[in-house]
Amino acid sequence: MLRIDGLTKTYKTGDKALSDVSFEAPKGQVIGLIGPSGAGKSTLIRCINRLVEPSSGAVWLNDINLAALRTGELRRARRRIGMIFQEYALVERLTVMENVLSGRLGYVGFWRSFTRRYPGADIANAYRLLDRVGLMAHADKRADALSGGQRQRVGIARALAQDPELLLIDEPTASLDPKTSRQIMRLIVEICRERDLPAIINIHDVVLAQQFSDRIIGLQSGRMVFDGPPSGLTEAVLTQIYGEEDWTAMRQGASEDAEAEAEEKAQAEKMLRAL
C-alpha cells in the first residue's frame, strides 16, 4: 500500500510544483491523476520513485519511507515500483527481450546483466509477460522496429518484469491513436486487477480517465483540488481543475469533431473570400 504524506516539491528556479499533497492508494486501486499541463502530475509520480527529489514530505510504500532512503536502499526500493512512460522510453537499439529483461536489473549483478545471462526463472517470466501482452513473436526484434502500441506493450511488460508492488504510469496514451489508447488502458487495468496492483496513472484525456480508473485525483498548480470517484467529475469540478471550457462538448466526442469541422469550413470560406 502507498501513502503519500505532505509531499512538496519546489524546483531550484523557485517554482512550486507540488504543495502538501497527501493521499493513500490501497491495493488494486487504479487512480487517474488529471490536471492541466504544468499542474505537477509528472513531478508527483516522479517524486514517488525519486526520479525527482521531493523537497519535503514522506512517501510510504508498505513500511518504508522512500523519501528518506539513501542511494543503495533507494535502488532496492525502486525494484518494486514499475514505471510506464509517455513515449514508451524503451532502449531503442536493444531487442524487445533485452528491454523486458531490463526490468530485472535491480535483482541481478552487473556481470550477469552485462553478459545477458539472466536466471532461467527471469527468462521464463519475461516470455510469459511477452505472451501476456501479445508480443511473443517479436521477442528478438529491435525495439525501434515496433509500432507505438506494441512499444507501449513492451513498456508494460518491462514494468511487470520488476514484480512490482506499485505501478506509476506517466501519460501512457499521449502518443497513441484513440483505439490503441483504449486497448492499452484496458490492458493496464486488467493487469492491475489480476495482480491486485495499485496504479497511479497520470493522464491528459479526461474521458479515458473516467472510463478506466476507480478513483480520480485532480491537481491544479501543485495542489489537490479533487479526490473522488469518476462519477464525481462534474462540470463544476472540471472547471475548477482546468478553468472555463465547454465540458459537455468535450464529453460528446462526436459533436466536438463536428464543431472542429464547422470551424475549419468557416476558416476556409474566410480565406476564399480574402482571395
Partner: protein, 267 residues
Amino acid sequence: MSTAYPTTWRKPPQMIQSRGWRIALAVGAIAYLVLAVGSVEVNWARVIAGMERAQRFIAGFLQPDFTTRWRDISNGLMESLTMTFTSTVVGVLISIPIGVGAARNVAPAWVYYICRSIIAASRALQEIIVAIFFVALFGFGAFAGFLTLTFATIGFIGKLLAEDIEDIDEAQAEAIRATGASWLQLINYAIQPQVMPRLIGLSLYRLDINFRESAVIGIVGAGGIGAALSTSLSRYEYSSAGAILLIIIAIVMVAEYSSGYLRKWVK
C-alpha cells in the same frame, strides 16, 4: 475599408544598428587588410627558385619511383600502419572511461572536472608539439609516435563521446534508472546502445586521422612513413617522395571509403 499596408520591406540590420559605425568598421577592416598584405615581405628571387623546385617536384610526382627506396618505404609504411592501429585501439580504450566521466549527466561533478581537464590538456597540445616532446623523452622511432597518437586520440574521442552521451535521450536512461539499476548497469543498458554507433564511427574516423598524422609526426622524428618522406625530401629524391605521397593518398582514400561504408552499416 482596407488598410493601406506597406509594399516594401527591408531586413533590419542584425548586428550593428548605427549606419555610421557600420561604414567606419568596414573601411577600417579594408584598410588594415591592405596594410597587412603590404607588410608581408616577398623575396621574388627566392620565389622563382622555388618555382623551379616545384617543377622538379611535380616531375618527380609524375614519375614516381617506388623501387629505388622500396625497403625504406615499405618499412616506414609498416611502421606507420602498426603505429596507427595500435594507437587508435589503445587511445579509444582509454578514452571511453574518460569520455563517460566527462559527461555531465552521468558523472559526479569532481569526476567531470578531472576528465574534462585531461581532455582539455590533450586537445590543447598539437600533435607535432607532443611528438617533439615524446621524441625528446624516448628517442627517435615509432614508440614516440605511438604515444603521441594515443595521447591525441584520447582528447578527440573523449570529447566527442562525452558530448554524445550528454545528448542522449534522457527518457531511456530514466526508464532504466527507475528499474533499480546500478550505475554500471545504467551505462551498459541505457547509454551504450545509444552511443555505440557513433563511437564506432568516431573510432574509424580517428583511425584515418591517425594515419595521416603518423606521416606528419614522422617528419619530427617519430618514425613511420613520415620519416621516410622527410629523408627522401632532404636528399632531393623527389621521385621517391612522390611515390610516398601517392601511397599516403591511396591509403587515406581507402580508409575514408571503407570507414564511410562501415559507419553506414552500423547504424
